[in-house]
Assembly symmetry: C2
Homo-oligomer: 149 residues x 2
Amino acid sequence: MIETGSYTEVLRREGLRNTKHRNSILETIEGSGKPVTAEEIFLNLKSKNISINLSSVYRALDILVFKEVVVKSTIADSSSAFFEINKREHKHNLICSGCKKIFPVDGCPLEEYEKLLQDKTGFDVTGHRLEIYGYCHECKEEKKYFSNE
Amino acid sequence: MIETGSYTEVLRREGLRNTKHRNSILETIEGSGKPVTAEEIFLNLKSKNISINLSSVYRALDILVFKEVVVKSTIADSSSAFFEINKREHKHNLICSGCKKIFPVDGCPLEEYEKLLQDKTGFDVTGHRLEIYGYCHECKEEKKYFSNE
DNA sequence: TTAGTTGCAAATCGTTTGCATCAAG
DNA sequence: CTTGATGCAAACGATTTGCAACTAA
């Protein structure tokens, strides 16, 4: 059976077999527009009546991360990993400590700093991870009502 | 039995019982001078012939994190959590992707940026997490010898 | 005395693996 | 056909929990 999905070309380019599952997984991640967990992907596919095993989701993600098609990350207060399409554009996430929603923000304030650090420490800096925590507009409001400070 | 350890006062201040175990755990974290895992703490205590159960280490850490005496964090490529004494001074870690050693660096380049972001997004920014990845001096050398780029 | 702390064993959660089957190339 | 991809069940490592025994206050 010959399948063609929106990620067929990407998979081919990476030397990976173009399977229905890999396409659906990538489309699901893409479609959600924010970092998602393996389980979220799994449940999303299930809700679309796409039958797949959770371990296959993990396996697909593994190889896609290795090929740098997908980026894996973790956030504080969550024991599970998050996955997103590697857009190769440098951005960070704003994470709401209230509702745990993730809001991507463009740009990065660290380029200068990394050079500085490299000179100061002799470390060969290759990258970084930055997340900003706080309360989104809605949760900020809620906090106002329930807080007694 | 009345125990007095170096953290007796801290525990009392937080309304926690001053136990031998909590003192030893805090001393072990302090002594190691870098973020450590629950298991590392457990093994370290064991090597000093202090008999404690791993689950008690976790329980003590939980409450100490809640009381903000200890800070919990995770790093990429490790499934376990790291704990360190909350010095309440703002610093970040430089993590070697080669040997996985963690090097604390003082200071933080993000104060300005957070204000900016707060204005731009309406988010109530409360903090952030930043780690910088790269290769330490030793691993940089090794990379030179083994790499074929 | 009594509420908080511990040890122990079992449970849980996210993730990984071995193996037989299946499908893409 | 051949190798890589999948499903399934079982294993795994880190962490959490229920419960009975213990101990700091």
